[in-house]
Structures are given as structure tokens and as C-alpha cells.
């Protein structure tokens, strides 16, 4: 159901509140998912950057050598979330997180809570909401109070 929703390119805005920074980070750009396991995030602000996540490696700005996403435990969560959701592999998602689905087909909310301790240290919850086949918002909370709110624009 979800897998069909996000083909092609979508625009997004993201607002991150981080404990270590005085002001929130406001980002916007585009997101593109290419089956089966590539997610390209093109940020136009706060700095121009392209983040390409292929499988489990993160390539920054067309770098040849990828960095394992595992270096940033939180990204693992996002990627698992995205990948699980977008490739329609719900089982994978359910493996890393406990899932709680509310609402109906028109307006749904999916709450993900990490199962693994390593993920728990970095992430408290990921709340994904959507309308029909479209992804609308991803809200992530970290135990240290950091929050991220990503909105997908049509």
C-alpha cells in the first residue's frame, strides 16, 4: 500500500531542534527513492548537499567511498523506517521496531518504537503519518530531547 505512494521525487522541509545548537536547523530539499534500496536526499538549505543512502552506506556529495550508516545509529532507524516502508517490506520494519498503526486509509499514523537497545539509545520514537498512499510527516524524538520534524510536500 505504502510502497506505491512515493515513487519519483518529492519535496520536503525539516526542522531539527538539537541540544547542542543554539538555533534549530531548518532544512529543505528533495527526496527520491529508487527501488530497491536507494534513498537520495538533496538538501538545498542550510547547505547544498546530496546524501545518497545505498543499502547501508551513506555517500555524501557524490563521494566514491561510502560511510557505513551504522556510524550514525539514528540514521539506521530512519533508513530502516524508510526502506521498510518504501520497499513495502513491512516485516523488516517490524523487526527493528514495535509498530502501532492508528487511523484509517485516508489519514493514518504509524508509531515506531525501537526494539534494540542500540537504537533505543539514539531514538525514542518515530511517528510517521500519511494520507492514503502519500507520506506526509516523519517526526523523530531522541532521548536527549533532540527532535526532528520532516514534512513531505506535494
Amino acid at each position: 500500500m505504502l510502497a506505491r505512494g512515493v515513487n519519483g521525487k518529492v519535496r520536503f522541509t525539516e526542522t531539527n531542534h538539537l541540544a547542542s545548537l543554539r538555533r534549530p536547523v531548518r532544512a529543505h530539499g528533495t527526496l527520491q527513492y529508487i527501488k530497491p534500496a536507494t534513498l537520495i536526499m538533496t538538501q538545498s538549505a542550510p547547505r547544498k548537499a546530496v546524501y545518497r543512502i545505498v543499502g547501508n552506506r551513506l555517500f555524501v556529495n557524490g563521494a566514491q567511498r561510502g560511510v557505513p550508516v551504522t556510524r550514525y545509529p539514528g540514521v539506521v532507524a530512519i533508513v530502516s523506517g524508510f526502506e521498510g516502508l518504501l520497499s513495502g517490506n513491512y516485516a523488516l520494519l517490524a523487526h527493528d521496531f514495535t509498530t502501532h498503526l492508528t487511523g484509517d486509509r485516508k489519514a493514518w499514523h504509524l508509531l515506531l518504537t525501537p526494539r534494540l537497545t542500540s537504537l533505543k539509545q539514539a531514538i525514542s520514537s518515530v511517528a510517521i503519518s500519511g494520507r492514503g498512499a502519500a507520506l506526509v510527516e516523519i517526526e523523530t524524538r531522541a532521548p536527549n530531547g533532540d527532535t526532528s520534524d520532516m514534512r513531505i510536500l506535494r
Binding site: 545548537l21 540514521v75 517490506n89 527493528d96
Partner: protein, 773 residues
């Protein structure tokens, strides 16, 4: 009646002694099953270090597992569950990991605490800090920003730098933090055992644990488990030999029992025939187990083969029983010949004991003890165990046939001489090409497993044992310093694609001098705070975000420096395989994987002018070591042959007779070698040991074929029966599926046949032998 009581008493006593010996062996014997145990412990430091490294090194202790089939989720679950089940077995596994983080997890605390001593950084200027902070900000403002809270505790990335050597050279790719194969169809796990990969029992235990755990986690799923690693190869090789040997032993037993039944026509002598060999093997094993801290399985195998000649002793005794005569009288009659054969062989084998090769010394002790015990059992035990038994079969027709055959062979003496000369010619023509000195030539390991191990090691990026740089030094710190001096060269080699990755102790533990330099470069709290403020100008960092970093640097300034002896266990385990003490010197290994151009690597290592550093291709060095071992064995065999001839000359009181005995034996051995060389890739150590057995067998044939006045009423049939059992027994082995067994079977059966023919052809023909013809 008295004799009967004595027989029962003796038999019971013998049983008791055998049980006692078995207890001694089980209690004191420490078995080490490895071909590397057979390699010389002498030689130069590099060679010694290699042998030690091969045996104990980390590469041999790594077990790799692939979970395939099913869905990705099933594999992931199984992989995690396996780690959960196996990690608690701390006594067996030094490491159980299914992802890069797992490998580093055990050392995380250590890396974090000492990160400023382990990470190669000495620049703490405002400029350097600013570069770090800009990168940190970029990460915080990236999609990874949210969860990079800990980045502020380590804004210079020291932990990452300290952990880099632990992440491995690339390693397998991972999915959700867990390793998977390149094709994405299997989940991968890596286990590291505490004990050497060449030790059969501990490896079998480790594999058993893994398989049991897998059975548990894979219940109800279509998942399959594939294992690879030195331990897997070791166990499989062992099982294969055991399985093959089991089947062949059963066939052997039937055939040999058939021959013996034809000769004796009753059960007691057949059973009693086993007494000498059993006694010999048990005594030899017990003596060797008591005399040496570790008994190599190889010694057991080779040794039992060498004393296999004891199987002939009872035949010689029992076949010489005259009509109405008891076994005691027969034993007395052949005692001098048996004794002479045994003493000549013991003196011959004792030359091995004085050799400087550990494996050979053990083999010598084993063979000597075994032969003495077997001969004594044949002379003083066997006859008393069956006082009432009398031969029932009339074999005089066969005696006559044997005599006729011997006479025929004597007339055709010159043929054997020509054949032997031909054999000599073949050997001389092949020269040093006669030998096959590869360790794998001796290995009974299935090739499929070895290939799989190589492939999976490549997938894991585990540096193999194919080539490495050996750096020798006077002490640990010097070894670390010297190998660290190679890092720029190694890095150039890696960038140039000549080496895929490298691993060295200095990467995990820098020298004290390096640590001190890094520590002294750390700024004081106030200074660091000032510089941070300057570096962070116009960046949105909160000042309090730097507090954990400032505290960590202050702690590191007063941290005591790290020595190899005070690092935690997982680090020490890693260092153990890379840093070794070898006869008063310290050797550091730089393990290389994916070496593309050995010649260039060699040249660049040499051009680095790092003292004590040598690039080594293991196969070549091991080949050279095997060559040395083989050459030593050959030298000792020749000395042994000369000694045997001397003993025989004294025993027979005639140099001429002694030569008549020894020369045909030597000719048989030469011809057998030539045939084997023509048939196969070359002679190995194993063939050489088998040829030594031929010498022993041949001596028995010669002594019992010729007329030296040692034995009254000689039975010409006896050596033929002995040869028939040997050729049948080992001939069956020649059809084994395991190359190692096949080689032994071929060597001994061809050798025994030739030894019989040659010694018969050159035997001195006087007295009773002619009478039957």
C-alpha cells in the same frame, strides 16, 4: 595345568597393564593434532615465528558462518539469535560478531577511555579545531544530525580514529548493522575461538556449539548454515580420515583374518597375534605422552605405521612351531632373528631422537619404545599365553611352493638389479623434483572446504595466512616501533592497489613513545576552552555542549600510558596473534590480504629500510621448512640404514651377509620411490615414513629368508605370509578416497612386495630351504 594357569594369569595381567597404560595416556597425554606441530622449531627467527604464528595465529582461530535461504528477516533474526546464544560461551569463543559494531563492541570501553592516546592526532590549534567543528556542524545539519548527539562528546572524532583498525579492511557489507554476503543472500557471522584452529577437539566443540545453536534458531525455517575456517577444515579432514579408515579397517580385518585363518585354522593364535602390536602401540603412546608435554597426532599416526612391522612378529613365532612343538620352543628358536631385527631397527630409529626437529624426536621415541615392547611381547608374552595350542594345518605343500618361488627368484637375480638401477636412474633424472614439500600435499582436507574458506575469508576481509611482513626486534616496544615505521609504506601499497588491506599490532597499540607524544600534545583545560571558543566563533554551538569533551581531554592528560600487558582481554587476544615472543626476540606480524604484486611489495618493504622487516610468502617458507624436515629425515634414515647394516653385520658375524640383507632392502626402497614418483606429483614426508616401514619389513623378510644359522628349522613360508598380510592390509588403503591414506597404502604395499622379491632373490641359499624344492 600349571602352564594353563600361567597363561590365564599372564593374559589377565596383560589386560590390566593395557588398561593401566590407557589410563596413563588419557590422564597425562595432551594431544595436539596439527601438521604444523611437525614443523621444525629450529631455524631462524622468521621461520620460527611463522611456525608459531601458523599454529597459534588469529587467522587460524577464525570461524566464518553464512546463514542462507529463507527471507531477509528470517536471516537477520537467526543471525542475531545465534550471536545471543554463542556469546555467553566465553570459554570457547574469544569473539562472536555479526556486524562491524559487534567486533568493536567488546573494546568500546577501552577505545573510548584511551582514544586520545590511540588516535594519531597531535594538532590542537585553533585552526585544526575549527576544521573539526565545521565538519561537526555539517553533520549536525545533515540528515544524520538528530542522532549525532554524542558527536559533541568527541568533536575531533578521536574515538572513530581509535576504532578504525578494529573496523577491519572494509569487511563485509552490512544491512541493518548486520553483515551480509556480497550477493545479499546470506547473513554472515564471525567467530574467533581461543584455541588454535588446528586443534581438533576444541574446534569440534566450537563447531558443535554453533551447529546446535543454529538448529535451535532455525527450527521451522528453510535456513541453512554454511561454515568455513581453519577449524572447519581441520575437523572435516580429521573426520574424513577417520571415516575412510573405519571402512577400510573393516575390509582389512576380514581379508587379513582370512589369510591368518588359512594359516592357523583356529581363533586363539589369530587373537593372540594382536598382542605384540597392541602392546607396542600402547607402551609407545604412554612413553611419548609422559616424555613430551604435547603428543602430536602426527606422531601417533606415523609412529603406529612405523611399528606396524610388529604385526609380523607373531607370524614369525607361530609359523616356526614344529610338529608337536609348543609356541615357547618356537619363540626360543626365532628369538635371535627377531631380536636382531628389532635391535637393528631401534638403533636405526634412535638417530631420530638425536635430531633437532621436535616432530622427528617424538617419532623416534615412539618407534623405539613401540618396537622394544612389541618384540618383548612376541618373545615373552605371546608364547606363554597359548601353551596348549598346536598348529593343525598342513602347509608343507605351501612351504614347497615358497621354496620353489625363492629358488626361481634367485635365478633371476639380475632382473631385480636391473630394475633397481632403473629406479635409481628415474630418481637421479628427476633430481630435486622428486619431492613435494607443500604442507597441503600432506593435508587430507577436502578441497571444497579449503576453497570455501578462502572465498569467505575474502568476503570478510580477514587477512589470510598467504603472505605477511615479519618484523623482528629485541623487545616489544622496538617491534611496535619498527612495524609502525612500515605504516606509510603499507598505506602506499594499499592506495596503489597492490595490497587490499593490512593489519598490525602497532595499529591497535601505539608505542609508549608515540602515546607520550600524543599525551603531551593535549592542551590544558583553560587553553583548550579558549581555543574552542575561538574556533567556534560564528557557529551556533552552545558553550555547555563542549563540557564532556573538555573533561575527557583533561582525563587523558593524566592517563597512564598503555603497555601490551595491561590492555583488556579482547585487545590482548588481538595482539597475541600479531606480536609474539620467539626465543628471546619479539616478532611483529603485518598481515596482508589481497596481495596482487608480491614482487613489488617485497621491493617496497625492502626499500623502506625498516630494520628486521621481511616480506614473506608463507607457502614458500613452509615449503622450505618441510624441505628441511624431509632432508633431515632422509639424512637420519641414511645414517639409520648404515647403523642397521653395522648391527646386522655384528649380529650375523659377517659383513657380506649384512650387505646381502641391506642392499636388496635399499634397492626395494629406491624402486618403490621411483614408481611413486612416476605415478604421482612427488614424494612427501608421508612417503618417506612409509619407506622406513619398508626397511623394517624388508629386514624381517631378509632375516627369515636367508640362511644365516640364526634360526634352526626355518620356515620359508613365514615371510610370504607376513608379506601377504601387509600387502593385503595396505593394499586396501591404496583405494582410499583420502589422498593421504592412498599414498601410504600404495607405498607400503608396493614396497613390501618389492622388498620380498628383492630380498628373496638375493637371499643366501643353503640348508633346509633347498630341501623342499
Amino acid at each position: 595345568m600349571n602352564a594353563k594357569a600361567l597363561a590365564w594369569g599372564l593374559t589377565l595381567a596383560w589386560f590390566a597393564v593395557m588398561v593401566g597404560l590407557a589410563v596413563v595416556i588419557v590422564k597425562t597425554g595432551r594431544f595436539g593434532g596439527s601438521l604444523t606441530a611437525f614443523l621444525p622449531t629450529s631455524g631462524n627467527t622468521v621461520q620460527r615465528a611463522l611456525v608459531q604464528g601458523l599454529h597459534k595465529g588469529e587467522a587460524s582461530r577464525v570461524l566464518m558462518a553464512a546463514v542462507s535461504g529463507g527471507s531477509a528477516v528470517q536471516r537477520l533474526k537467526a543471525s542475531r539469535a545465534l550471536v545471543g546464544l554463542l556469546r555467553p560461551h566465553k570459554a570457547v569463543f574469544a569473539l562472536v560478531a555479526n556486524g562491524g559494531r559487534g567486533a568493536a563492541r567488546d573494546v568500546e570501553g577501552f577505545l573510548s577511555r584511551y582514544r586520545y592516546l590511540l588516535a594519531p592526532r597531535t594538532a590542537w590549534t585553533v585552526g585544526a579545531l575549527r576544521v573539526d567543528l565545521q565538519r561537526d556542524l555539517a553533520i549536525l545539519e545533515s540528515p544524520a544530525g538528530l542522532t549525532s548527539g554524542e558527536i559533541m562528546a568527541d568533536p575531533t572524532g578521536a574515538l572513530m580514529a581509535a576504532a578504525r583498525p578494529w573496523m577491519g579492511g572494509g569487511g563485509p557489507r552490512s544491512r541493518h548493522g548486520e553483515w551480509e554476503s556480497r550477493d545479499g543472500r546470506s547473513a554472515l557471522l564471525l567467530m574467533e575461538t581461543h584455541r588454535s584452529g588446528f586443534s581438533v577437539t576444541p574446534q569440534r566443540r566450537a563447531l558443535h556449539l554453533i551447529h546446535a545453536a543454529f538448529t535451535q534458531v532455525s527450527r521451522g525455517t528453510p535456513l541453512t548454515l554454511t561454515m568455513a575456517g581453519t577449524g572447519v577444515v581441520t575437523v572435516a579432514a580429521n573426520d574424513r580420515v577417520a571415516a575412510s579408515a573405519k571402512v577400510l579397517t573393516v575390509i582389512d580385518l576380514f581379508l587379513v583374518a582370512g589369510i591368518l585363518f588359512f594359516v592357523y585354522r583356529s581363533a586363539p593364535p589369530m587373537v593372540a597375534s594382536l598382542v605384540p602390536l597392541t602392546s607396542g602401540a600402547m607402551v609407545a603412546t604412554a612413553v611419548t605422552a609422559l616424555a613430551f608435554p604435547r603428543l602430536a597426532i602426527t606422531t601417533l599416526g606415523f609412529g603406529t605405521m612405523l611399528i606396524g612391522v610388529a604385526m609380523d612378529y607373531p607370524t614369525y613365532v607361530l609359523l616356526h612351531m614344529g610338529p608337536g612343538e609348543g609356541a615357547r620352543a618356537a619363540a626360543r628358536r626365532v628369538a635371535r632373528a627377531l631380536g636382531l631385527a628389532m635391535i637393528a631397527m631401534v638403533i636405526g630409529f634412535s638417530t631420530m631422537i638425536v635430531s633437532r626437529l621436535a616432530g622427528l624426536v617424538q617419532l623416534g621415541v615412539f618407534a623405539c619404545a613401540g618396537l622394544v615392547a612389541s618384540a618383548l611381547a612376541a618373545r615373552y608374552l605371546l608364547p606363554f599365553m597359548m601353551p596348549a595350542w598346536r598348529p593343525t594345518a598342513d602347509l608343507s605343500a605351501w612351504d614347497r611352493r615358497a621354496s620353489r618361488a625363492i629358488s626361481g627368484l634367485r635365478r633371476a637375480r639380475w632382473v631385480s638389479a636391473v630394475v633397481a638401477l632403473g629406479g635409481l636412474g628415474v630418481l637421479a633424472y628427476r633430481g630435486s623434483g622428486v619431492w613435494d614439500d607443500h604442507l597441503s600435499a600432506l593435508s587430507p582436507a577436502p578441497h571444497v572446504l579449503m576453497a570455501r574458506t578462502g572465498r569467505m575469508a575474502g568476503e570478510f576481509g580477514v587477512p589470510g595466512l598467504s603472505s605477511l611482513v615479519v618484523v623482528s626486534a629485541d623487545n616489544t616496544q622496538q617491534a611496535l616501533a619498527r612495524s609502525a615505521a612500515l605504516i606509510p609504506v603499507l598505506e602506499r601499497l594499499r592506495k596503489g592497489g597492490m595490497v587490499a588491506s593490512y593489519q598490525l599490532a602497532a595499529g591497535y597499540l601505539p608505542t609508549l613513545a608515540t602515546q607520550r607524544r600524543r599525551q603531551q600534545a593535549l592542551p590544558a583545560a583553560a587553553v583548550l576552552q579558549r581555543r574552542l571558543r575561538a574556533a567556534a566563533a560564528h557557529m551556533p554551538f552552545r558553550a555547555r555542549a563542549f563540557r564532556p569533551f573538555l573533561a575527557a581531554v583533561q582525563l587523558a592528560r593524566h592517563e597512564p600510558l598503555l603497555r601490551p600487558e595491561d590492555v583488556p582481554a579482547p585487545v590482548r587476544a588481538r595482539l597475541k596473534g600479531l606480536l609474539m615472543r620467539v626465543h628471546g626476540r619479539v616478532v611483529a606480524f603485518v598481515r596482508l590480504s589481497g596481495v596482487h604484486n608480491p614482487r613489488r611489495v617485497h621491493a617496497m618493504i625492502r626499500a623502506s629500510h625498516v630494520e628486521g622487516a621481511h616480506f614473506v610468502v608463507v607457502k614458500r617458507v613452509v615449503g622450505a621448512l618441510m624441505g628441511r624436515y624431509r632432508a633431515a629425515l632422509l639424512k637420519h634414515s641414511i645414517v639409520a640404514a648404515l647403523l642397521m647394516a653395522l648391527v646386522l653385520a655384528i649380529g650375523l658375524r659377517s659383513a657380506r651377509e649384512a650387505l646381502r640383507l641391506v642392499l636388496p632392502m635399499a634397492a626395494a626402497i629406491l624402486t618403490t620411490s621411483a614408481i611413486l614418483v612416476l605415478m604421482g606429483p612427488g614424494l612427501t614426508l608421508l612417503n618417506l615414513v612409509a619407506l622406513l616401514l619398508i626397511a623394517g619389513l624388508g629386514m624381517g623378510y631378509a632375516l627369515f629368508l636367508g640362511d644365516h644359522g640364526l634360526i634352526t628349522d626355518r620356515r620359508p613360508l613365514a615371510p610370504w605370509i607376513c608379506a601377504a598380510t601387509t600387502i593385503t592390509g595396505f593394499g586396501v588403503m591404496a583405494f582410499a578416497s583420502v589422498a593421504m591414506l592412498r599414498q601410504v597404502g600404495l607405498t607400503v604395499s608396493i614396497g613390501a612386495l618389492l622388498a620380498l622379491i628383492f630380498t628373496a632373490a638375493w637371499s643366501s641359499g643353503r640348508g633346509r630351504t633347498a630341501e623342499g624344492a
